[in-house]
């Protein structure tokens, strides 16, 4: 059980995190000013004026836009490590070619996602 000692920093961090969270809430309750009013109680304080209720129908297309955004976003995330590693490969080795085709294949999937989104009418705003 001696190797449990190596986890001591983790325990300290955990303790600090809990203390920090609890202390913030408690301190705000104790010393924070309390002012109430109509403006202060609004949904977006010092933001937009809310119109109507939250139970409103909105176009399902927003989901599709979010999804398409996600596709390209994730794509970029994968491109970075590839771009950082690729120059280190020996250009004459077969590995380099495989790596190149790998990313091209990966980009092909984005094209498919784009085509799918296009045909589905995601990019049509009418």
């Amino acid at each position: 059980m001696t190797d449990l000692a190596s986890y001591a920093p983790l325990a300290i961090i955990l303790l600090m995190a809990i203390t920090f969270a609890v202390a913030n809430v408690v301190l705000t309750l104790l010393i924070g000013p309390r002012r109430r009013g109509k403006i202060k109680g609004m949904t977006y304080e010092s933001g937009m004026n809310p119109i109507g209720t939250a139970r409103k129908r909105f176009n399902v297309r927003f989901y599709l836009i979010a999804m398409v955004f996600l596709v390209f976003d994730v794509e970029i995330i994968f491109l970075y490590p590839w771009a950082a590693t690729f120059p280190n490969l020996d250009p004459s080795s077969p590995d380099a070619l495989v790596w190149l085709f790998r990313i091209l294949f990966f980009l092909l999937t984005t094209v498919v996602a784009y085509l799918y989104g296009f045909r589905k009418g995601v990019f049509r705003f009418d």
Partner: protein, 535 residues
């Protein structure tokens, strides 16, 4: 790593087909959209053929199982595809034929076929997994598309409810086995199944298997039991199968189950069937032909409860889909008997893993027929799900009726059907492994199952039809699938020997050879090191 691509061509073919289907399925031209099913079928066929032609995968813990399972997945998938065809988009197509235009946002065909192919890709990736992370991703790739398929299979809120339920419980199952995987990694220091195996053997020779690794293995098995609908995680089965369209239920009964059994076989192969029965963790390595006691006990309890709960609850149902759902739980219990018995013995009938693999193939083939009949009995957009709908079906709709009779008898394990030849090896391998109590429980459960399966067979065959037969929506592919499935249930018997021999060959583990006493763990570590250096 790169050499592995040589074994992954089936998955790559399926993935490319998925890309094609994804674009084809949203085409404004009806004729092009109708090609989705054809492209999917062609890809599945090609993938299965390529997998069989490629042969064993050297890096897998079960090298020979890879082509066997990929082939099984491909061909059962083809049969399932025939049932799946025409599940979605019938209204959208009709609207376009009537000249009302095509609303791409309402059409679901692209998603439906693409997700089916994704799921099949996941199943095939599962078969070639040799690493915990790979296995996790493959299992999730198998399951995630099925959640969507359940939801979009009909336009009723029942399907959406089923989809949400399936998704949340699936996420719970995935969380449990992922936690198990992380503990297994903590206890052995590797995610490679081969390295885990050598590490566990080394630990066992030094005294006992690491408790954390054992806990990880147990948790992983419990989590994976969601995929095979085994007892601690079976609650979703009936509701989801009933809520989804029958065609999607047919797929759910095979694809995640096959992936789950592959995962279970991969996971237990890291400890292997080489431990004494009475001992706890590993003191008697090489002394016996059983799994380590904690794992054996877990699988034993799971098998007994899964069979019993599935069969008893199936007795109480009136909905055909619920009966088939509970019976699918029971079938998982039967197959677990083979996993417990293990791959001992050179002969097929002594080899429990071979029995499990052959059962999976047979179950996949004969189960599609039963669901195809339910899917075909569609009247005004509503599937006739009550048992009464089967009354006198052999008179009114002979093809559907006799398909149901044959498939139900085969699922029961009636002599001289495929189900019989699939079930007998489970009994014999259990006896060969000395699991007498389990075999007795298996026998009792088969008797309970006879009650509801005979009802499924007797209602169409012996009863008189009630009133006028309703006009059914004709989807010819489903009848073809049903007839093919019933034909397999009878005709496969003639060539069962060939497939049994393949299954026996597939069930030879690559990690250990069952005679561990002759070689020490250090040898194995050296061998594994060489293997990894080769990669």
């Amino acid at each position: 790593m790169i050499e592995r691509i040589a074994w992954l061509w089936p998955e790559i073919i399926l993935f490319l087909a998925t890309c094609v289907v994804m674009v084809l399925g949203v085409s404004p031209r009806l004729a092009l959209r109708r090609q989705c099913a054809f492209v999917s079928g062609l890809a599945l066929f090609l993938a299965a053929m390529v997998a069989i032609a490629t042969g064993p995968m050297a890096t897998s813990p079960w090298p020979q199982m890879v082509p066997f399972m990929k082939g099984t997945a491909g061909f059962v998938g083809l049969l399932t595809l025939l049932v799946l065809a025409g599940t979605v988009d019938r209204e959208v197509d009709r609207d376009q034929e009537l000249g009302r235009g095509f609303a791409a946002l309402r059409a679901n065909r692209a998603e439906f076929y693409a997700f089916f192919l994704f799921s099949m890709t996941g199943l095939m990736l599962c078969a070639s997994a040799d690493d915990l992370i790979w296995l996790f991703l493959a299992l999730e790739l198998t399951s995630l598309p099925t959640y969507v398929m359940v939801t979009i299979s009909t336009r009723r809120s029942r399907s959406q409810e089923a989809g949400v339920k399936y998704f949340f419980l699936g996420a719970l199952g995935a969380a449990i086995f992922l936690y198990g995987f992380s503990l297994l990694y903590m206890g052995t220091g590797s995610t490679d199944l081969g390295a885990i195996s050598t590490q566990i053997l080394a630990q066992a020779e030094g005294g006992a298997i690491n408790d954390i690794a054992m806990a990880g293995l147990v948790l992983s098995l419990i989590g994976v039991s969601f995929k095979i609908a085994a007892v601690p995680m079976h609650f979703y089965t009936a509701d989801v199968y009933q809520g989804a369209a029958a065609s999607v239920s047919a797929m759910l009964a095979f694809v995640p189950k096959a992936a789950g059994f592959i995962a279970i076989l991969l996971l237990v192969s890291t400890v292997g069937w080489q431990w004494g029965v009475a001992d706890t963790a590993g003191v008697s390595l090489g002394a016996g032909h059983s799994l380590p006691e904690p794992v054996r006990l877990l699988l034993w309890v799971m098998a007994v409860f899964t069979m019993t709960v599935g069969n008893v609850l199936a007795l109480l149902q009136r909905s055909i889909k619920r009966i088939l759902a509970y019976s699918s739980i029971a079938h998982s219990g039967y197959m677990l008997v083979g996993v417990i018995a293990g791959p001992q013995g050179a002969r097929f009938i002594d080899n429990g893993v071979a029995a499990t693999l052959f059962y999976l193939l047979s179950y996949g083939l004969m189960n599609v027929g039963a669901f195809a009949v339910v899917a075909s009995m569609e009247h005004k957009g509503e599937e006739a799900d009550d048992l009464d709908a089967l009354r006198g079906l052999c008179r009114t709709r002979p093809w559907l009726g006799w398909t149901m009779v044959i498939c139900a008898l085969s699922l029961l394990g009636f002599p001289f059907t495929l189900g019989f030849f699939a079930k007998v090896p489970l009994f014999t391998s259990g006896i060969a492994a000395g699991e007498y109590a389990l075999v007795v429980i298996l026998g009792i459960n088969s008797a309970i199952a006879a009650f509801y399966y005979l009802r499924l067979a007797a209602l169409p065959m012996l009863e008189e039809p009630v009133g006028e037969a309703p006009a059914l929506t004709r989807v010819p592919a489903r009848i073809v699938a049903g007839v093919l499935s019933a034909g397999a249930a009878l005709g496969m018997v003639l060539v069962a020997g060939f497939f049994m021999e393949r299954a026996a060959r597939a069930a030879v583990p690559g990690l250990f050879d069952g005679t561990h006493a002759s070689q020490s763990a250090t040898d194995q570590i050296a061998r594994s090191g060489e293997r990894r250096a080769d990669e």
